[in-house]
Amino acid sequence: MSVTINVSDDKKNATIKINGRFDFSLHNDFRKSYKDVVLSSGQYSVDLSGTDYLDSSALGMLLLLKEHAESQSSDVMLTGFNDEIREILNIASFDKLFTLG
């Protein structure tokens, strides 16, 4: 399990990559990864290509990231998820809250 973040030089894009299970145990690492990142009208993307499970507390963490992004007039995109994770995102209607790439 790991969380890594890459911020582009122009401060327009930040990519957070989650490996392994995305659940409550990542709470601190996830929050820490973006806490000090400031984008101006940019986009945070959460790369879920290495994520094999996502639970409801992860959905909650994504909402926190969304709040953080919106305070910087930025949005959040979720990418790279597998079919099972897509199903979870669909059930929670997160396609209405996030851009799914």
Binding site: S56, L59, G60, M61, L64, A92, S93, K96, L97
Partner: protein, 572 residues
């Protein structure tokens, strides 16, 4: 880290020989330790009891009254923390030294001892003791933590029991559900309340987070649910209210996934709002005939208006069953780490040939699957069976305040704007209820008012064709068309008046006359009635006329007046 500098450490010196004691005291003092000296084992035991500051015991073996072996045993048995004991002995044979350790000693040193060696042994023992103390303190705080958690679980369980105070389950109501204690702690909630059509409104919810934090959200949701069901508010209004409460209360990362079910017994229609829970199944004649998928964002995430909730409607037949599970069922995990999953759940539906046993079959299959695993205790499952005959026990019923009958009247004039914007019926019902609670007639009154009002809007104002409602798709189309016409209509109004008169003959009741007038064109009701005796579209008004003592269509067909007689003597 604990302080293990010599100044803060106290050694107990136990020796019957005065010279030995004095030598040791001097030696300890030189190294900076405090010391207490006693002459035999018995005194040593007492000294350890009386002086909690003692960190280490230097113990002679051969002494009068009580020897070192026995003293060591007692001290080790009695002390809760780790006090190292170093035996100081003149004996050098292996058996005696082994006996020192067997009696509870941690080390030994043979006399005459080397001062440097003694010093370093004391130091090393004290270091071990300080490690022990650290671990002990951590253990204590973990224990406290566990205790707190147990207490929290207890409080939460009690809270949820209070919230779930009304148990509507039973053969006679058609409602069955199972909630494991752990699922409750994990934030699962089931609420049920009898609605105005004598059907049930049910809420199955799953909060993110667990324990007390989930209960914080559950309390206002339960309040909103019960009070708004009782006041006859429609589904979307209740959802907006609950959603707003949760938005206010819950931190960003917390929300409530929920399914809201409404069983309308007047029209035999099921409405389902699924916001973030797994599929809801409608089961008929041994197969799943409809699946209600989640189409809404869980509650407590973003601000929504009543029209933004997607609610699905399906006609109900007697014997139909509805199944709702929280993700605890699907995610129940066996010892191999596999989840129960959708396929296994659907297989239970497939294999079942007796619908009465289906509920238990699902629970059993899930329990069997998880056998031997620890995480089996997070399961919430609800079954509702739509029965032809139902009954509720007294404690499931409404409690109305009795009030002396009185004469009164009121009138509501609604223009097209207010008709578009809000549902006036709950307010009227509430007003009537405050003025004159109608004992057993409450449900009837709501049905009468609803049907008359719907008739005035659907047919009087909007000219909609009721026969559209015959098929499930038509049902949806009908409501879509209704919404459309309401929004595009430029003029129109409805007047509702209620007049209540005491029954002077019996003195224990009265009659309520309801009149609804629409601004529509009306219709030739005289000839309509003779040609459409069994018309499907007349169902609403037929219901009204069956519930009322008298019902009249007046004017050009745009006025309906109905009289409802009631009595404080319960005739139900």
């Amino acid at each position: 880290m604990l302080d293990i500098s010599p100044q803060s450490q106290t050694a107990l010196v136990v020796d019957d020989d005065l010279t030995n004691r004095l030598v040791l005291r001097a030696l300890l003092k030189e190294s900076g330790y405090q010391s207490i000296e006693v002459e035999n084992g018995e005194q040593a035991v007492q000294a350890v009891e009386d002086n909690p500051q003692i960190d280490i015991v230097l113990l002679d073996v051969m002494m009068p009254v009580m020897d070192g072996y026995q003293a060591a045993k007692i001290i080790k048995n009695r002390s809760e923390s780790f006090i190292p004991i170093i035996f100081l002995t003149a004996m050098t044979d292996e058996a005696s030294l082994a006996k020192c350790i067997a009696a509870g000693g941690d080390d030994f040193l043979t006399k005459p001892y080397n001062h440097i060696l003694l010093n370093s042994k004391i130091n090393s023992m004290l270091r071990i003791a300080s490690l022990y103390k650290n671990i002990e303190e951590q253990n204590k705080s973990i224990q406290n933590h566990n205790l707190q958690m147990l207490q929290e679980m207890n409080v939460t369980r009690k809270l949820f029991e209070k919230i779930n105070k009304k148990d509507m389950r039973g053969e006679n109501t058609g409602l069955k559900y199972s909630m494991s204690p752990m699922s409750m702690f994990n934030g699962d909630l089931i609420l049920a309340e009898k609605n105005q059509t004598s059907g049930l409104d049910m809420l199955i919810a799953d909060f993110t987070g667990h324990g007390l934090s989930a209960a914080i959200g559950a309390i206002p949701v339960s309040d909103v649910f019960h009070s708004m069901t009782l006041k006859c508010f429609a589904f979307p209004e209740m959802l907006v209210e609950a959603n707003n409460k949760l938005l206010d209360l819950l931190p960003t990362q917390m929300f409530m996934a929920a399914v809201l079910l409404n069983v309308d017994r007047s029209n035999n229609v099921l409405s389902v709002m699924n916001a973030g829970l797994p599929d809801v199944y409608l089961y008929r004649n041994n197969e799943i005939v409809h699946t209600f998928k989640s189409k809404n964002i869980p509650l407590g995430i973003s601000k929504l208006s009543s029209t933004q909730f997607e609610i699905e409607m399906q006609p109900l037949q007697y014997g139909d069953r509805i199944y709702v599970a929280t993700d605890g069922v699907m995610e129940a995990t066996n010892h191999m780490g596999d989840m129960f999953g959708l396929q296994r759940l659907l297989a239970v539906f497939e294999e079942s040939d007796h619908s009465d046993l289906l509920f238990d079959a699902i629970l059993n299959k899930c329990a069997d699957f998880c056998e031997g695993s620890e995480q089996t205790d997070d399961i919430t499952l609800l079954e509702f069976c739509h029965k032809e005959k139902i009954s509720y026990t007294d404690d499931m019923a409404y409690r109305n305040v009795c009030r002396e009958p009185s004469d009164w009247s009121m009138q509501f004039d609604l223009d097209i704007k207010s008709l578009r914007q809000f549902d006036v019926l709950p307010y009227i019902m509430q007003a009537v209820n405050n003025l004159q609670p109608l004992e057993s007639g409450r449900m009837h009154l709501h049905t009468i008012l609803t049907e008359m009002f719907a008739n005035a809007i659907d047919h009087g104002l909007l000219n909609l064709d009721s026969s559209m409602k015959a098929s499930p798709q038509g049902y949806m189309d009908f409501y879509r068309e209704k919404q459309h016409r309401l929004e595009t209509m430029e003029e129109g109004s409805i007047q509702i008046s209620l007049e209540h008169r005491i029954d002077h003959v019996s003195g224990s009741g009265g009659s309520l006359t309801l009149t609804v007038i629409d601004s529509g064109e009306g219709y030739d009701y005289a000839s309509y009635e003779t040609t459409n005796k069994n018309a499907y579209s007349g169902r609403g008004l037929k219901l009204v006329s069956s519930l009322c003592s008298e019902m009249k269509i007046l004017g050009k067909g745009n006025v309906i007046s109905a009289r409802y007689d009631w009595s404080t003597v319960n005739t139900d």
